[in-house]
Symmetry: C2
Subunit: 280 residues, 2 copies
């Protein structure tokens, strides 16, 4: 299978490595708007050739859209405009409702499979790609009833081969749950890093005193603005909803500490502990 990947960053690059490793892709074409990333991707073997979309789309059996979230909907339209009914297009984007809405009346909608592999790290760019990325991860598929059966089956089979499980979800539902579980973690981590950088004027103290706890809560704060600004703004209403709740929870804890409310704090912490039940 010849695969074209548009965007050879963390996710697109990881998919390139995994598709090659599992013998799914015979040849990988890469489309990449950054010249530096294009060179790096070639050097790292993420793509055999760097092409423009115009060059690559007609050649490819499978086209994977892996650009930042803000570029995805229009790119999907432009790519679908050029494919035949034997090609398959899929994406790996973090936001699904707008994308699915934009494509809903497209004459070639059937060739598209809307997908979101629930995987990522705080790193970005071609050098962040990891061949083992998708093993054990969940991949959300949206509006699968609008995809042609063969296209859907092919994408499901690819993720299964990579060791990932697929599940189906309504696009609005996906964006809401992604805000709850993924996007808010990033906002919280960015704000935590800013808090510590603001309060702690001496870097040396941060380094000396940072146990594993701070390192893990602040890990996501290393994530790229180019990835996260589009996600936070495109999923604005869901993110704001959960962010308001998060601030509210912090204010409740603040008032309990102010009032020396040991029992209230203990109850809140024990409630928080119940994430163990869900994520052991």
């Amino acid at each position: 299978m010849k695969v074209l990947i548009a965007g050879l960053g963390l996710i697109g690059g990881s998919l390139a490595l995994a598709l090659r490793e599992h013998g799914i892709a015979d040849e990988i074409l890469g489309a990449e708007s950054s010249e530096e990333h294009a060179r790096e991707a070639l050097r790292l073997g993420l793509a055999d050739r760097i092409v423009t979309l115009e060059e690559g789309v007609p050649e490819a059996d499978l086209i994977v859209l892996a650009t930042p979230a803000d570029a995805l909907p229009l790119l999907a339209v432009k790519v679908l405009n050029r494919v035949t009914d034997r090609q398959i297009v899929t994406d790996v984007g973090s936001i699904k409702a707008e994308l699915c809405e934009v494509l809903s009346m497209h004459a070639r909608r059937g060739r598209f499979v809307a997908a979101h592999p629930m995987w990522g790290t705080e790193y970005s760019g071609p050098s962040a790609a990891r061949r083992e990325a998708f093993a054990g991860c969940n991949v959300v598929l949206c509006e699968t009833e609008r995809s042609d059966a063969d296209a859907l089956a092919a994408v499901e089979e690819i993720y299964r081969t990579l060791g990932a499980a697929t599940l189906r979800m309504d696009p609005e539902e996906h964006d809401l749950h992604a805000a709850y579980v993924s996007h808010i973690s990033h906002v919280s981590s960015f704000a935590l890093a800013l808090t510590v950088l603001e309060k702690e004027r001496e870097d040396r103290h941060i380094f000396d005193l940072a146990g594993g706890g701070f390192r893990s809560t602040v890990r996501l704060a290393k994530s790229a603005a180019s990835t996260w600004v589009p996600i936070l703004l495109r999923n604005k209403y869901n993110v704001l909803d959960v962010l308001r709740e998060h601030i509210h929870q912090l204010q409740i804890m603040r008032r309990m500490i102010e009032r020396d409310d040991a029992e209230g704090l203990a109850q809140a912490i024990r409630r928080a502990n119940s994430v163990r039940r869900i994520l052991p």
Copy 2:
């Protein structure tokens, strides 16, 4: 060396394992207020015998105080009341100013070494103990000028043998920096867990959509109330100071998202990214 450890939880238990592993302790006595933890500690080999403090203190060469933060200052006084000038007492507590103040005029202050190993996990109790805990960690020592030279040298040598580095810090300074770097991470993680548990009514979605990001930011939310309520309340003013700043940073990000301020968000995220410089 015969060692008495008061409190055989995560830190006390880990120290027991490490002291034995490195041949520092020939015999370990454990004092433990929970009968269940006492039984577990014996079963796991954390202590050779469970004793009362009255029984154990006269026998031990080194006494380590590893109880929750609220019990530490009075316990330290009571133990120091019973030691000779050939015994050494040290602690592993997360808060130092109150402890050092309480002990400052004690006739046996010289036998005490105030210490805080910057290590922990989200687990607690004897079964959470890890023999490799202190390898590569930093241990803050406070008011070392009030410790007798031999006691200080012995504690420093023990941590060096376990693979940890010691550094010195003023107790007030320690509590301030610990609030910035360690305590706020816990508050943030508890509040994040409560937010998600509050907003996301279906556990299944949390489980399905939780990538590594959510898992790492919410990891500390599994930490025990019995450990953290005393820390947050005993270090109240420092914790509130940094918590107010954290809420403020979240409110700034919220306003930027509300106003679609992509440039402001990108700048904030890039500032947050600079934690990479400190914690690569």
